[in-house]
């Protein structure tokens, strides 16, 4: 199949590492593209560097093969497996449509891992509250925390209808709760967890990590702040570079406009001013 390496010859990752730099944009092999539900796909590609270094809420830029479409398409890393990296994405436009049609053996240009990850250093009960296409970084948070010591994870996922990510997160999370629009939303689930006592795990602080539509994240922040629960939120914004050089991807915070790609994507509810 076609290769789409933008510039350096050979193994740019190795070359960069040897020279002491992060690898620039480079082509990687797609090993699988699976359809999870209507318009939602999971792509896996081989990239030992990203697989080794990515932390939860970090993302990768994927690039279209069409040179008319130059801007990066950022996607949160959803899982790694050896030297394989997976992302889960919805087809919303031309770039994601192209990615959804790729097949094993194709190549795709990639840059990453990028962004400031969730802070999951301290042992805690991490409640991973995701909505729609916000769930991928939370799956990866569950996977990373499963490999760490001392923490517990509960996935709390809200879907429009098909629960396409439950199977993935359930591989890693200690508990998985999900809900679809007909039944309620993630706050419904959080309320349930609060009342049935699963929200608090003895000896561990509860920390919410959240990613999803803005209104959902705001509601979750508010809910958490009322209960004194720390809340980290992974934000989205249209990007120019994804690595912090163009100041295109801003979000308003209490400290002014910050870059989603390098100051974030993770911000605390306090930084966003989303507290009660």
């Amino acid at each position: 199949m076609t290769t789409a390496t933008f510039h350096p010859t050979g193994d740019v990752v190795a070359q960069a590492a040897e020279a002491g730099y992060f690898p620039g944009r480079h082509a990687v092999e797609v090993t699988a593209v699976e359809r999870l539900t209507d318009g939602v796909y999971r792509m896996t590609f081989r990239d030992a560097y990203i697989a080794a270094h990515a932390r939860p809420a970090q993302f990768v830029n994927l690039f279209s093969k069409d040179p008319m479409k130059l801007l990066p398409r950022p996607f949160g890393v959803s899982e790694t497996d050896g030297d394989l990296v997976s992302v889960i994405f919805a087809v919303v436009g031309k770039g994601t449509d192209e990615f959804s049609r790729m097949r094993a053996g194709d190549t795709v240009d990639v840059l990453g891992p990028l962004g400031r990850p969730f802070d999951v250093k301290k042992p805690a009960h991490y409640v991973l509250v995701g909505g729609g296409l916000g769930v991928p970084p939370l799956i990866y948070a569950a996977q990373s925390l499963a490999a760490a010591e001392g923490s517990r994870t509960s996935a709390v996922f809200g879907y429009r209808n098909e629960r396409f990510a439950d199977a993935y997160v359930a591989r890693h999370a200690d508990a998985t709760y999900s809900i679809d629009e007909s039944e309620g939303n993630v706050v419904t689930l959080l309320d349930r967890m609060e009342s049935d006592g699963t929200l608090h795990v003895d000896g561990l602080d509860t920390v919410i990590l959240s990613c999803g539509p803005l209104p959902m994240m705001k509601a979750v922040s508010l809910w958490a702040s009322k209960r004194g629960i720390a809340c980290q939120l992974s934000m989205e914004q249209r990007m120019g570079c994804g690595y912090g050089t163009c100041v295109v991807c801003v979000v308003d915070t209490v400290d002014g406009r910050k870059k989603v790609c390098s100051d974030g994507p993770v911000f605390t509810s306090a930084q966003l001013g989303w507290e009660a």
Binding site: Y21, G24, R25, L70, C241, Y243, V247, V250, V251
Partner: protein, 321 residues
């Protein structure tokens, strides 16, 4: 069919390998290791240094700095366009004081030739920044009178030869550093503003800044960028930028010119040199390929081998046409 994403199909290369520059340029008396710089607003040391040795560039032109920190425009600030992008950052930056303690010293320490891009909402703003930079380690100043994303200053000055002349005349008195004036293509006749800038004391011109443009989301019928319009850059603007440089060079045979707009290969950089530029800067290409500026510099260095007459002119700061 082999697809290659280097639009000009130039030979792929390992930009991490050590390289001895063969062809330098001189712009308004300042020597650049090679004729390729980074374009303002697309380079931040804290981001780019992870990807390549930034001191390898001919020059580093930094993001526009204002007298005080600016917040810029609300997001979204960008939209994609065919072979290009639209941006409306609105000159968000932490201010000149921060720049003087943070970005500039670090760049100088790395050995970079630094062009400091200066932004303002008023003549007084520009003057304050230039005054603060006058004794700094910056090698050159670039006065941005061409940003389409601010309502005062920026393009509103750069489209008006009288206002421009007044501003540059004023700034000229504040510094003896080589002063580049960055021009906008959004004018009826770019040679008129070019001449105004030069007659008022500009040591060099850089062009082009972005073209006014926009995109609309057909799902909502509304502009994608919060600021509605923004500035177009990337390969799409290349032929427009080239004609601007050509026309300014015809009108002003001696002034040093830095060509900017859509450069993503050594070949495109070379077209700018043939059009009359003494150097070039790489902008948008660095956003979708972090090492693009260095790759362009390497490609151009090789292309100049076979063009000794052009290379010789550059090396002494002479103009080609």
């Amino acid at each position: 069919m082999e697809e290659t994403r280097n639009m000009d199909g130039a030979a792929a290369m390992n930009v991490y390998e050590p390289h001895e520059w063969k062809h330098k340029t001189v712009v308004a008396g300042v020597e650049w290791k090679n004729p390729v710089g980074t374009a303002s607003g697309t380079f931040q040391l804290a981001a780019c240094r992870w990807f390549y040795d930034v001191s390898q560039m001919g020059a580093i032109c930094t993001k526009g700095v204002s007298p005080v920190p600016w917040e810029g425009n609300p997001g979204p600030r960008t939209a994609e366009a065919p072979a290009g992008m639209v941006n409306a950052v609105g000159l968000q930056n932490p201010g000149v004081d921060h720049y003087l303690v943070d970005e500039l010293p670090k760049l100088k320490e790395l050995g970079a030739t630094v062009i400091t891009n200066v932004a303002g909402h008023s003549d007084e703003d520009y003057a304050q920044v230039v005054a603060k930079l006058a004794d700094s380690d910056a090698d050159m100043l670039e006065i941005n009178v061409s940003c389409p994303n601010v309502t005062h200053g920026g393009m509103s000055v750069g489209t008006d030869p009288i206002a421009l002349s007044r501003l540059i005349g004023h700034l000229r008195k504040l510094t003896s550093k080589p002063m580049i004036v960055k021009l906008t293509p959004n004018v009826t006749d770019i040679t008129t503003v070019a001449r105004a800038a030069v007659e008022a004391g500009a040591d060099a011109l850089s062009l082009i800044n972005t073209l006014v443009g926009m995109r609309i989301d057909i799902r909502t019928g509304e502009p994608i960028i919060a600021n509605r319009t923004g500035g177009v850059s990337g390969p799409a603007v290349f032929p427009v930028a080239l004609a601007c440089v050509w026309r300014v060079r015809q009108a002003l045979p001696k002034i040093p010119i830095i060509g900017i707009g859509g450069i993503d290969s050594g070949e495109k950089a070379l077209e700018f040199l043939y059009a009359g530029a003494n150097a070039v800067e790489v902008g948008a290409a660095a956003l979708y390929d972090p090492t693009a500026p260095l790759r362009v510099a390497r490609e151009l260095d090789d292309l100049l081998d076979a063009r000794p007459a052009l290379a010789a002119k550059l090396a002494v700061g002479d103009t080609w046409r």
